[in-house]
């Protein structure tokens, strides 16, 4: 079930328009910029009397989460509802997969109830691709996180937050810090940052949490936190995913915080206007200090707010038709 086995061509319809949003890898720059531009015009909707547009009226969207999630599921739900879709949330604990039904059979059953759009999170890499490959032509799939592979909508809202904070991507130096090994977010961010043309991407963390092949993605890796932070414009902290760790990858929480936890003192090595991001949920005192997380440098809550507009943009982009405009 490797994602590349099905190919990224599955994301496009016969007119070359985006129809699923499964991975950022292979998407052209103009597609990413288009999603960010459209999201910009959705930002103001939160302030309107009626926070809805009729684009997905009459469409049924199913949030299919085989892994727990709060902000991703909630912001997808709000995004779907603001586009006037009927949104149904299904959580793994109540699902028939527990009774032994395969994920494809579950999705086919739901599709038989005339679902138009699936938003899928699963612990297996490639789950969203697999589902997309087994559904009829008119049904759309969004990857809301699959195993260690990708979390493309999170990466897009991070790009949106960076563009709003920094005005663009040219010349930016970005550091991604922490548990790169288990992070699907980091992988999607690296693809997006490279496609959008930042100057430099550094990944920083203990050697045990940095995949050996990561530099092939176009980043430089270091285990020295201060070297990694030096002159950086955007600091992206990753959550230390303790629930994914089955071995002894980190010596102790205290030692991890001492070396890689982002404190005000360490942040001084970054550019004076550097912003701090985190996909959440944050572990205060483990990968980031409360002082930094709550400081004016932090755009962590903006990321959550931006998640709604960016997800509206992605849903509207893949759900629209692709006939020629008259």
């Amino acid at each position: 079930m490797t994602p590349t086995a099905t190919g990224d061509a599955i994301q496009f319809d016969r007119n070359g328009k985006l129809k699923h949003f499964l991975t950022i890898s292979g998407l052209p720059r103009e597609t990413l910029v288009g999603i960010l531009d459209t999201a910009e015009s959705f930002v103001s909707f939160g302030k309107r009397e009626v926070k809805k547009v009729p684009l997905l009226r009459g469409k049924t969207m199913v949030n299919l989460f085989f892994e727990p999630s709060t902000r991703t599921r909630t912001t997808f739900e709000i995004a779907g509802k603001r586009l006037s879709a009927d949104v149904i949330n299904l959580n793994a604990s109540r699902m028939s997969t527990i009774k032994g039904e395969s994920i494809v059979d579950t999705v086919r059953t739901l599709e038989a109830m005339h679902t138009d759009l699936f938003v899928v999170r699963d612990s297996a890499s490639g789950a969203a691709h697999l589902i997309a490959a087994h559904l009829p032509e008119h049904v759309r799939v969004v990857n809301a996180g699959d195993g260690r592979h990708a979390h493309p909508t999170q990466a897009m809202l991070d790009m949106f937050t960076i563009r709003r904070a920094k005005g663009g991507f040219d010349g930016l130096k970005v550091a991604i810090i922490g548990d790169l090994l288990h992070s699907r977010v980091a992988r999607s961010q690296i693809h997006a940052l490279n496609t959008l043309g930042v100057a430099e991407i550094r990944v920083v963390g203990p050697r045990t949490l940095i995949p050996t092949e990561i530099e092939t993605l176009g980043v430089t890796a270091t285990s020295d936190m201060l070297e990694g932070l030096s002159g950086i414009d955007v600091v992206i902290m990753l959550r230390l995913q303790r629930e994914r760790m089955d071995g002894q990858l980190v010596p102790s929480a205290q030692e991890y915080f001492n070396r890689y936890g982002l404190t005000e003192e360490k942040l001084r090595h970054a550019d004076k206007d550097a912003v701090v991001m985190h996909p959440g949920p944050i572990n205060r005192g483990l990968e980031i200090s409360s002082a930094v997380a709550d400081s004016s440098r932090s755009v962590i809550l903006e990321q959550v707010t931006n998640g709604i507009a960016v997800r509206m943009s992605i849903l509207a982009t893949i759900m629209g038709g692709s006939e020629e405009r008259s």
């Binding site: 103001s44 309107r48 009397e49 684009l55 509207a316 982009t317 629209g320 038709g321 006939e323 405009r325």
Partner: protein, 173 residues
């Protein structure tokens, strides 16, 4: 149609016709893109100049499931609340009426205006909805394969008549 010539005369007449509507403290709203240009001209001709808003109706169009989102969608911007307010809705060309239908839906998602008055530069045949303008700059009897389109060359507005698939068939300046 150029600002200095015929177009300026028509917009001046339109401004007079808007005054005759006796609106109270109106908000003038132009529909992107041609309507927004025209609304700016009309606003300048009104005294006192009303607040100016712009509307991008892309999210309210009825052809989304066929053609998708307009890739160049712009943000709508209404500087004051529409509740209980008189509104001058401005577009360059009234053709099928679908754009106006979408614009009305969008305006009502902001609130409940007191009255909406529609002002268009060009009225042409081809209505598909029961919508008519209150203020019309000029009526043109265009054929199905003809299109009237406002252009803006560095602040200089001109109306071009285009035969679809062919070169410019006529120009009002």
């Amino acid at each position: 149609m150029h600002d200095s010539g015929q177009l300026a005369a028509i917009t001046a007449e339109m401004a007079d016709a808007i005054v005759a509507q006796q609106l109270s403290a109106p908000l003038i709203i132009g529909i992107h893109t041609g309507g927004a240009w025209l609304a700016e001209r009309l606003r300048a001709a009104l005294n006192p100049a009303p607040p100016l808003g712009t509307l991008d109706i892309s999210f309210y169009r009825d052809d989304f499931s066929r053609v998708g989102l307009n890739p160049e969608v712009k943000a709508s911007n209404l500087p004051v609340a529409v509740d209980n307010r008189d509104i001058i809705l401005v577009d360059d060309v009234l053709h099928t009426g679908r754009t106006i239908r979408a614009a009305l839906n969008e305006i009502f998602s902001y609130g409940r205006p007191e009255r909406v008055c529609l002002a268009v530069l060009i009225e042409r045949p081809g209505r598909e909805l029961p919508i008519q303008a209150d203020v019309v700059g000029q009526s043109l009897d265009l054929a199905d394969d003809e299109e009237a389109k406002l252009s803006n060359n560095g602040g200089d507005l001109a109306l071009n008549i285009i035969q679809i698939g062919k070169a410019i068939a006529g120009k009002i300046a």
